[in-house]
Amino acid sequence: MIAIIDYGVGNLFSLKSSFAAIGEEAVVTSDAAVISQADRLILPGVGAFEDAAKKLSDSGMAEVVKREAQSGKPIMGICLGMQLLFEKSYEYGEHEGLGLIGGSVRPIADVIDKELKIPHIGWNRLIVKKQSPLFKYLSDGDCVYFVHSYYATDCEDAVTATAEYSAELTASVEKDNVYGCQFHPEKSGDVGLKILKAFCEI
């Protein structure tokens, strides 16, 4: 069973449906007992980093996620959920994340060409940097769906794929049992479902 962690951020309908589509049972929950029984965890997230980090901490879910991650359970952060795995974010100030992966989150405006649109929104090709169990079913040139204005940096050892948007932006990361996708697998068609399937087989 997969626990999708509910801490009051965003709409989890598509995420839950996408696991159902690949025949996996997923529950949306903020119950520490259910999370502890789950085989795998998903940390979702949309919106602003500061608000999400506060909700994660206020709901008690930050401690639960850290404990579960340290126990070795596979956990995947998606979009803002991936950014929350890092030590800190510089989105409107400086805010602490979960610190499960070394590195920080900074505005893409710092590194992309000035004439490019922000957010980085749409389908972009994954450039695989390192083999990852998440990529088990992927083919060369597969595209995934991104919507973000901030990116993870100072995390070279953890980067498994990037996407080119005048600069190479971190698309996915991995450190031991902790995984993160900047893109939305639940909105990336068959490619996204294959990534979720691979996560369920770790």
Partner: protein, 252 residues
């Protein structure tokens, strides 16, 4: 590099997909859920669901259809038609929509875009404008293209983007349903005026129209069409293969 998006638009009325030529003479095509699944499997990059009669009749969107679609189709889904309040945003987002498109609702209440963008983020708010040439100017029309608002289109669209709209769907009433190609002149004027994604709508009749669009106006991010996809005049897989062959960044 971000790929150019191909977006089939499903105009929904009474739970069925319809498409009007110049917004009149509606034809019944198919089940929205089935059509959405079909398009997703053919390589559509995104889907738009419009309740085209909602502004005129004040009818609520068929949220059951939306929910069912969002539970079976895993590409971005934009919903429009009858979006007049922040509560309307909430209603369709809860049913699995990723973006919400406003048209007449923003004309009636210009604060709507600002309020929705603040709550759900810019990326969630799409301004959809029906635009027609009149006396040498681009004018905004309301109520599914039936009512001239008297407003100049470029300044209206800029104002919506300044208020937080993260994307623009530009539908040219002049080319809609004519199948003679997209309205390049109108699209160029809009894409030069804003720095958010612009989606071209109205006028596509064949594969070459999309190639011309993306080659002529590299700033345009996506092409949207309805009946040519619904009736199989343009097959999405063929279209995307032709785009890739022409050197346009395409998701295959």
């Amino acid at each position: 590099m971000i790929t150019k998006r191909i977006i089939p638009c499903l105009d929904v009325k009474n739970g069925r997909v319809v498409k009007g030529v110049n917004f009149e003479g509606l034809n019944d095509v198919a089940s929205p859920v089935e059509l959405a699944q079909y398009y997703s499997s053919c390589g559509a990059d995104e889907l738009v669901f419009y309740d085209i009669t909602a502004s005129a009749e004040g009818r609520a969107l068929f949220t059951d259809i939306l929910t069912e679609t969002a539970s079976k189709v895993f590409i971005p889904l934009t919903v429009g038609g009858g979006i007049n309040t922040v509560a309307d945003f909430d209603r369709v987002l809860k049913c699995g929509a990723d973006k919400v498109s406003v048209n007449s609702g923003a004309i009636r209440n210009p604060d709507l875009i600002y309020e929705a963008a603040k709550l759900y983020g810019d990326q969630c708010v799409v301004i959809s404008a029906d635009v027609k040439r009149q006396d040498g100017a681009f004018r905004v029309y309301a109520k599914g293209g039936r009512e001239d608002t008297g407003m100049e289109a470029i300044s209206w669209i800029k104002r919506c983007v300044d208020n937080g709209a993260g994307e623009v769907v530009l539908n040219s009433i002049d080319t809609d349903g004519v199948k003679g190609g997209f309205d390049l002149e109108m699209l160029e004027a809009v894409s030069n005026a804003v720095n958010v994604p612009v989606i071209a709508s109205g006028g596509a009749g064949k594969i070459e129209d999309f190639i011309t669009l993306f080659k002529t106006l590299p700033k345009v991010d996506a092409g949207l069409a309805a009946s040519i996809f619904h009736f199989g005049e343009v097959k999405i897989a063929d279209l995307k293969a032709a785009m890739a062959k022409a050197g346009i960044p395409t998701r295959l």
